[in-house]
């Protein structure tokens, strides 16, 4: 492995915002969890119970200031109707108690990160109260903390859902491709081929790590002794060779059927795969490096010349990974998350610059100097994922 690059300069403010922007939503939700993980080793939770009385028109007090961390609230319903009491951040419910009957008290315990919140006060038309959660020594200290493994449950689950859905799409499209090939319609088969490749490329970082399947699904003729004539030449590129080089469906039926079977097998493997944050990052790093070291120069889609479409799909999958990991990459891991976001944006902008409308050009039209830029952008991305993987490898258990 090459050493992780050190980020020589702090990314500009705008990038920092972007790095976190898409993930704010997540952060809001995982905030409670994250703080549960980070403040525990700090100050003792506040023992004082914060009392709130909800009247017919307003909360009393209607402005609260509480320290960050675990906090218990006692809500007294002084109004004449059953109420629910909620702590809101934006439109998101952080914690709530439902159906507090008139004259009754209920307690609620919430773990709150510093920031501004609102509380509902009875009728939905009543103005909400304000709550300011102030930083504490513990919450400040958490800024330098190693992120907690717990904070990665949500992003990893979400990535697993993404991979599962893409793998299902791959399985479905591969079955449709096999049908199109069997039907003898060359144009239909070409469309089906491109549609099948997309979900596979989006999850290639993880899916491509099963070496046995990968060597059947996506092997390049270049690596086989007899090239296109080698009996081991199968999978995507064998089909591509028939569809775009030979302009024929001859001999493709079995290949397409096997591709479809391997797609189903891949889905099953991915279902069973245990994911960890550093595994994701290192997988993406390996893929980006493989692209930079080989595919950009030689091209991978030697007959359809649709390499840019592949690159873009690869990037979409890695972008998804980075966007999910970023909010949990706090403390020491923050610079790596920001760097990663910057590299993704750079590569995304570069690939976009080749587009005409929604379409990418034939890869043969991409000149050596342009390929050098793509190569360098993928290399940067590989480095950024590697640094992220190193940071994530230090995540506390």
């Amino acid at each position: 492995m090459t050493p992780a690059p050190s980020s020589s300069s702090a990314p500009p403010q705008k990038l920092m915002r972007l790095a976190l922007g898409g993930a704010v939503f997540l952060t809001i939700l995982s905030g409670g969890l994250f703080y549960a993980a980070t403040v525990q080793y700090g100050a003792q939770p506040t023992a004082d119970v914060v009392k709130v009385e909800v009247g017919d028109k307003t909360c009393n007090p209607n402005h609260l200031s509480v320290p960050a961390g675990r906090q218990t609230f006692e809500i007294f319903n002084a109004s004449s109707r059953p109420i629910e009491w909620e702590i809101l951040q934006g439109v998101m419910v952080v914690e709530e108690r439902e159906n507090i009957a008139p004259g009754f008290r209920q307690t609620l315990t919430a773990t709150l990160a510093p920031g501004e919140y609102r509380m509902t006060c009875g009728l939905l038309s009543n103005p909400p109260g304000n709550m300011v959660v102030t930083p504490t020594a513990a919450s400040d200290a958490s800024g330098d903390a190693v992120p907690s493994l717990k904070a990665f449950i949500a992003p990893l689950s979400e990535y697993k859902v993404y991979v599962t859905l893409q793998a299902s799409a791959f399985e479905r499209k591969a079955a449709a491709l096999a049908e199109a090939v069997a039907s003898g319609d060359l144009n239909k088969a070409r469309d089906a081929y491109q549609a099948t490749r997309l979900p596979y490329k989006q999850i290639e970082a993880i899916g491509g790590r099963f070496a046995d399947l990968q060597s059947r699904l996506d092997v390049a003729a270049l690596y086989l002794e007899k090239h296109e004539q080698d009996p081991a030449f199968t999978g995507f590129h064998r089909i591509e060779y028939g569809l775009y080089e030979q302009n024929s469906l001859d001999g493709l039926q079995d290949v397409a059927r096997h591709l479809s079977e391997d797609a189903a097998a891949l889905k099953q493997r991915l279902r069973e795969a245990k994911l960890s944050p550093d595994y994701l990052a290192s997988s993406a790093s390996l893929l980006a490096r493989r692209i930079a070291d080989g595919r950009v120069d030689t091209g991978e889609d030697l007959y359809a010349h649709s390499d840019l479409v592949d690159f873009a799909a690869n990037l979409v999958g890695m972008q998804k990974m980075a966007a999910l990991l970023a909010p949990a990459m706090t403390g020491d891991a923050l610079p790596a998350a920001q760097q990663l976001q910057a590299r993704i944006e750079a590569l995304s902008a570069l690939l976009d610059s080749f587009k005409t409308g929604d379409a990418y050009p034939d890869y043969t039209s991409i000149k050596a100097d342009e390929r050098a830029k793509i190569k360098s952008a993928f290399n940067d991305l590989a480095n950024a994922f590697e640094a992220a993987g190193d940071a994530l490898g230090r995540v506390a258990a």
């Binding site: 939700l29 995982s30 419910v93 493994l149 689950s157 245990k274 595994y279």
Partner: protein
């Protein structure tokens, strides 16, 4: 493949092997949470589909058809309520009660399912319900969109099992929620299914450390299922007022015990 790529592939696998052995059981929650997200997504698809049919019946002025679709449509919503109600604006817009508004049923701001329920059952009419129906459909679609983009917070998912049982205890055992249609047993079933799903997903993780707990919870779920089954009618459930006092007590006891027991799940799974 060249020797070089074979070597690379082999080293990928080795690395994969070491990373795949997660260092802590905390990450064992990844699979159940992912499975739960897929469950929620399927329920949301069903909710949107059913709400389309339900609101179409309302807008067509077909009171009887709308009434027959009200409870089945709500089933999917009630099953995923711990997640659905994370968005306070949509929760209010879709599922708030007349009590949340100053003029109760007469308040023009009273929206959503229960506003339509009130019209269909109390007024026997779809008068003035067109905009309410349009808004409801737009809201459930917005809900699906927001949840699709949301990485589910594990503590909300695991805690959701208890939340659903508390919801049953607070609003279904009393018949508070569907006060005009008395279709509370349908909602009860939705809440029950949602809680059971969460429990089943994390069950293997808890079973090792506390088999007695798992057995007790499973027993109470079974009691509820058996009791509710007595009230099945066609594809759904009888009116809430057919529930006998004895059965209400049986359900109430099981639900309250479950709510209490399930509230310890978060702690057992290291999420508190």
């Amino acid at each position: 493949m060249t020797r070089h790529t074979l070597f690379a592939a082999a080293s990928f696998l080795l690395m994969a092997g070491s990373s795949l052995a997660a260092p802590s059981t905390v990450l064992d929650l990844v699979e159940p949470i992912a499975d739960y997200k897929i469950y929620v997504s399927e329920k949301l698809d069903k909710l949107v589909e059913d709400t389309e049919a339900f609101t179409a019946a309302v807008k067509a002025g077909d009171v009887e058809k709308a009434k027959s679709l009200f409870a089945p449509t709500r089933l999917s919503y009630e099953a995923i309520e711990p997640i659905a109600e994370l968005f306070s604006d949509l929760d209010a817009s879709i599922d708030s009660r007349a009590d949340d508004y100053e003029k109760q049923e007469q308040d023009p701001a009273f929206p959503g399912f229960h506003r339509i329920e009130y019209g269909l059952w109390e007024k026997g009419s779809t008068k003035d319900l067109d905009p309410v129906a349009d808004q409801l459909l737009a809201d459930v679609k917005a809900l699906r969109e927001r949840i699709t983009d949301l990485a589910l917070p594990p503590e909300k998912v695991v805690g959701g099992a208890a939340v659903l049982m508390e919801e049953v205890a607070a609003t279904k055992i009393s018949g508070e929620e569907d006060r005009y249609s008395h279709t509370d047993l349908w909602d009860f079933k939705g809440n029950f299914d949602g809680a059971d799903k969460i429990f089943q997903l994390v069950r293997p993780l808890v079973e090792k450390q506390d088999p007695a707990f798992v057995q007790k919870v499973a027993g109470n779920f079974a009691t509820i299922e058996t009791t509710l089954a007595k009230y099945k009618e066609g594809d759904g459930y009888k009116s809430y007022d057919k529930l006998t006092d004895d059965d209400r007590n049986v359900l109430s006891a099981a639900v309250n015990t479950l709510a209490e027991d399930l509230s310890t799940l978060r702690g057992k799974l290291g999420l508190d």
